[in-house]
Symmetry: C2
Subunit: 430 residues, 2 copies
């Protein structure tokens, strides 16, 4: 793990836009599903997932969900149920309500908040089929009050068995009642435009491979989409009071995700840096995913030596990391200066996996420096606001002339006249 | 204006993605500004705006702003100042704060809310240089607490005089201290990537022509962008208690915006429909922007006859209009059923221009049916959230095993070990 001075460090960031061939393939799939519906959906499912389905068998049955419960481990079920409760409790605290401001003359101004009506959650197949991510996408939508939450996932994530039973159980525990065995760009297109079997949604969220990401970009506008995640990142700010073993373990928990994940330690202590470097090497050698973690540490990992913790905070704000751990003598001391970080873990016991799985805050967090302007998944992502204006006659009579002045200045005479016709009528008394 | 039954009506929607040539031109401009900075910015400004500038003259001076005040009409200044106060008051009510949940064992969970640090507001030149839109973009950012708000606008919106003085005054009144005379895709690129003269921002908002819209799409990810507006829409739900003259005037105030704007009346009364149709024709003939309004009414306008107001509400929810006016005997009766509408105007005196200019709610509202999932511009658009997790030793000891179970199930062993190393150390007491 390289040790580098703060002024020489630059984070490599890579955003995946796909090859021209991938983009073309996705456009074709999306267009085919949009125009042909189920026929195209079934055709691409056979071609890409190697599974031949009928329209009537797209939907996962209740019997399958019941059967899935028999296949999952009891300790897993206990843990995920408790995690679901914690996630729900944390997101309940984010709830918001419609409000109005009433003025004595009868004018009402306000915001009406409503949940989206129907949301689609994409759950990828293969190694990335994480039950925890199902909870993190579904529960905030549910807390927001979204009445219809639908899950799609490739038909053979669990191999010949069909869909991974852990995914089905996680979705059922989160409260999803409607699940379809479709994946890839074709599933995204079906959610966006609807088919005879799958009614369209208002928003699509959840991670996926490059085809899924490109399909989401393509359908954006017809529906809303969540942000498109980049590789995962952790920054640890630590002084010599921190535990070398804890810091190394947390860095590696990020590095094991992906060869492009980045794990960065920022510290003012050169001896602490040396200690962590050695400990990372020691723990790394023992990991089952050692090749992935090693490549991540070699290519994207770094220990940045700063002149002071204060300087370290400046580096953090420039990096805007997805995850930030602060393991210093007094972590709260620095919180007021942290401008950009998706999730902030304070103190020795707040290891990142605590947040990934269990504590309650969402684990879907802005990557690639986008914490500068975006937020972890939260209840607001599934609410929309409508402005309310009930202007009284008195308010219009008092302010109509000013509105007319502004409209005429902008050359919008019909706007002015819409006010004027009312003023004439009401002032004229006829 | 055509009269049509609800089941035969379909709204034409058009989203502008630009020609391949326009897309290519924008990519070239963005890339040139990204790599060459001011040199490219000045080159494209000369080429597209016909104005030759030096880097040192990009920024609008205080003297220019002072001079602009001498050029604007006193009634305008009074009206825009009062509008600014109303907009500020309405948006202040949207403010939100960081919160935390403290548990007896010392665990803290929360959300830290922070404003974005730097926001760029694009103000188009020409006919679309609306002072009111400057207020609607700037004030929510300011209320959110964004410390740096910068405006860009083409160098000759006011012809040979330079920038339109009304735009400068509106920006100054809204509190903008930093303004640059650049426009087009080159201005968007400068805001996104920064140049020697213009530091980069975190979010770009404000309307613009097709080149500006394409440039915003291109830089999205490096910075946040607001939604890309489509043509403006109004739907009026009215029964025979409504005033034919008011309804016609409000429909026309939308139609005059743009040939592609749509103005739609929904009513259960055939005789009211006939009355509005005749009144639209009468008022239309008197409008200065009659050719634009007529094309809008002919191509996109409609009077939809429904069996009942109840059925009308269903049509509204399908259309998800930008603006909705309800002029029925009791408008509040229907509000609880309105799921999709950007801004809702209730009763005879809440003509849409009241909201466009003066009442306080934002006039930048989702178009093209996107009110299904998005909201008028509001303070949240300029805030971001960071999750906070301070887990206590007790909480980790109590829950660590469940976290390990979930991590191991997902094959993320380093995640499990980051917890395990702590449990061993703390339980072992060493």
């Amino acid at each position: 793990m390289r040790i580098i001075a703060a002024d020489r460090f630059e984070l490599k960031r890579e955003v995946e836009y796909g090859t021209p061939e991938q983009n073309q393939a996705v456009r074709e799939i999306v267009e085919a599903v949009r125009t042909e519906g189920d026929a195209a959906l079934l055709r691409y499912t056979e071609r890409h997932d190697g599974v031949r389905l009928q329209a009537a068998s797209l939907r996962v049955t209740e019997a399958e969900i019941t059967a899935a419960y028999d296949k999952v481990d009891a300790a897993f079920l206990t843990a995920i149920r408790e995690a679901a409760v914690n996630i729900r409790v944390f997101h309940e605290k984010q709830k918001r309500y419609s409000w109005m401001d009433l003025q004595p003359d009868g004018t009402l101004l306000g915001q009406m908040l409503r949940p989206l009506k129907r949301v689609g959650v994409y759950v990828p197949g293969g190694k990335a089929a994480y039950p925890s991510s199902v909870l993190m996408n579904v529960i905030p939508a549910q807390v927001a009050g979204v009445p219809e939450i639908v899950m799609v996932t490739p038909p053979a994530t669990g191999g010949k068995e069909g869909i991974d039973p852990y995914i089905l159980v996680a979705a059922a525990e989160a409260g999803v009642k409607e699940m379809y065995r479709v994946g890839g760009a074709q599933a995204v297109a079906a959610l966006a435009y609807g088919t005879a079997s799958i009614p369209p949604v208002d928003k699509i969220c959840g991670p996926g491979n490059i085809y899924v990401a490109l399909a989401k970009r393509t359908v954006f506008g017809a529906v809303d989409i969540d942000s498109i995640a980049g590789p995962s990142e952790i920054v640890v700010l630590a002084d010599e009071t921190a535990d070398v073993g804890y810091v190394a373990a947390d860095l590696l928990s990020q590095a094991e995700h992906d060869e492009m994940a980045s794990a960065i330690l920022i510290t003012p202590s050169a001896s602490f840096a040396d200690g962590v470097k050695a400990e990372v090497e020691r723990q790394l050698a023992l990991l089952p995913r050692e090749p992935i973690a090693r490549k991540s540490i070699d290519d994207y990992g770094a220990i940045i030596i700063v002149g002071s913790l204060q300087e370290g905070v400046g580096v953090i704000n420039r990096l805007a990391p997805e995850h930030l751990e602060i393991m210093t003598a007094d972590p709260m001391e620095w919180l007021g200066q942290i401008e950009n970080a998706g999730a902030i873990f304070l103190g020795a016991y707040s290891s990142e996996p605590v947040g990934d799985y269990f504590a309650g805050p969402n684990h879907i967090i802005p990557t690639n420096g986008t914490a500068r302007f975006s937020s972890p998944v939260n209840v607001d992502d599934f609410l929309k606001k409508s402005s309310l204006i009930r202007y009284s006659k008195e308010a219009l009579l008092a302010n109509g002339d000013k509105i007319i002045t502004l409209a005429r200045h902008e050359g919008l005479e019909a706007h002015a006249r819409a006010i004027e016709i009312r003023l004439e009528r009401e002032r004229g008394g006829n």
